[in-house]
């Protein structure tokens, strides 16, 4: 093999710093969960070391790239590395969508006696095999309580007779914040595509403008998501609110985390664009982040449709 085929980087201390950072982070986290007073501080220290490592290590790679050290073989390695990372992300969200499907279509109906299973009303006090917290009782009807959804979850102990319930408040309205957030995220996909086009055409000022718009839309999405969580939590939907609450927060929470990471990545790309790191023919860093953002966008579209509509 010629030298053109392989690139051997110099030795570096960043991996060991990363290991120390992650170890510190998790030791702190675990001990905080066990109630140790020092757990929180150690966790923050570990997080700081990890962020320091990411700045240092990624900065080193960017500098090596800018100095023209990398050849085509390295370029291929980056592309394949990104594709495996994406594969793991696809599997990650596929598992959560699978959980949503399994709980909603199979396990909750089975627990409620669907197909050949026996009905299990005594599985838990006042268990109701409903996916959502529908608990909707017509005024005047006699009922025991407003039921929570899903499987075995907490129920307010309300006497079984003589109680009339008010119509439950509609908390998550698909026409409200979810639709607005979907529009925001889809718009960010459009602005990112314009930025991508501008980069390929070599119009740097336009790239900056479209990227700033994309980042702003992502931040707006996160803001409204926090607002929606506030509403839902205040009105009784929690991570512990049965299988629906768990699945809802697991999916939307991890998605929100990915949007946060995407916003950080886009901000780094914006900085690199301003520094002139990319040109029309060579901009893998931009491509990787752009694809990631499109993926996060599609995941949300799937969430919007499967959680709120289908």
């Amino acid at each position: 093999m010629s030298e053109q085929e392989y690139y051997i980087p110099d030795g570096t201390y960043w991996p060991i710093i990363g290991s120390i950072g992650l170890t510190t982070l998790f030791v702190g986290f675990a001990n905080q969960m066990h109630g140790a007073e020092w757990g929180g501080s150690v966790m923050v220290l570990g997080f700081a070391i990890t962020v320091f490592m990411m700045f240092g290590w990624f900065g080193l790679v960017v500098n090596e790239s800018n100095n023209g050290i990398y050849n085509k073989q390295v370029d291929r390695s980056f592309r394949w590395g990104m594709s495996w990372f994406i594969f793991s992300e696809v599997m990650f969200f596929a598992a959560f969508f699978g959980a949503l499907f399994y709980a909603r279509q199979l396990s909750v109906p089975w627990l409620g006696g669907a197909d050949n299973n026996i009905f299990t009303p005594d599985l838990w006090n006042a268990f109701s095999a409903s996916w959502h917290q529908m608990a909707f009782m017509a005024p005047g009807s006699v009922t025991d309580t407003v039921l929570q959804s899903g499987t075995v979850m907490s129920f307010p102990a309300v006497p079984a007779t003589g109680i009339e319930t008010a119509t439950p408040a509609m908390v998550v309205d698909p026409w409200g914040l979810p639709a607005l957030n979907t529009a925001l995220l889809l718009a960010s996909g459009v602005t990112l595509t314009f930025a991508h086009h501008a980069l390929r055409a070599g119009h740097r000022n336009q790239i900056v403008g479209w990227l700033v718009a994309t980042i702003a839309l992502g931040v707006a999405f996160l803001g409204f998501q926090i607002l929606e969580y506030g509403h839902a939590y205040h009105d009784g939907l929690k991570l512990t609110s049965g299988i629906y609450g768990s699945t809802f927060y697991m999916l939307t929470g991890f998605h929100g985390f990915h949007v946060t990471v995407g916003v950080i990545m886009l901000t780094v790309i914006l900085y690199r664009v301003q520094k002139g790191h990319f040109n029309a023919d060579n901009h893998f860093g931009f491509e990787g982040v752009a694809w990631y953002w499109h993926f996060v966008d599609v995941v949300w579209l799937g969430l919007f449709i499967f959680v709120y509509w289908l």
Partner: protein, 80 residues
């Protein structure tokens, strides 16, 4: 029927995203072109699908999964 169309468009979006990934891994001018075209298709289909879902909901072709929670505070006993 509307649900089937929606799911088919979602599959088309995923395929477009997949072609975008293939273009990115391939690299070079051809790969870059392929990636960009696939992502343009993915964005266009996504916007169309979003509008279709809203329109279908407005027309009553599909029903939203309205999520309801606790009644306002504790229900008051009522004289029977």
């Amino acid at each position: 029927m509307t649900e089937v169309v929606i799911v088919l468009i979602i599959i088309a979006i995923l395929v477009a995203l997949g072609f975008g990934l293939i273009g990115m891994v391939k690299g070079g001018k051809a790969g870059s072109d392929k990636m960009f075209k696939s992502l343009v298709l993915r964005v266009s289909l996504s916007v169309f699908l979003f509008l279709l879902v809203l329109f279908a909901g407005y027309m009553g072709w599909i029903e939203p999964n309205v999520v309801m929670f606790d009644a306002p505070v504790a229900p008051a006993p009522v004289q029977k």
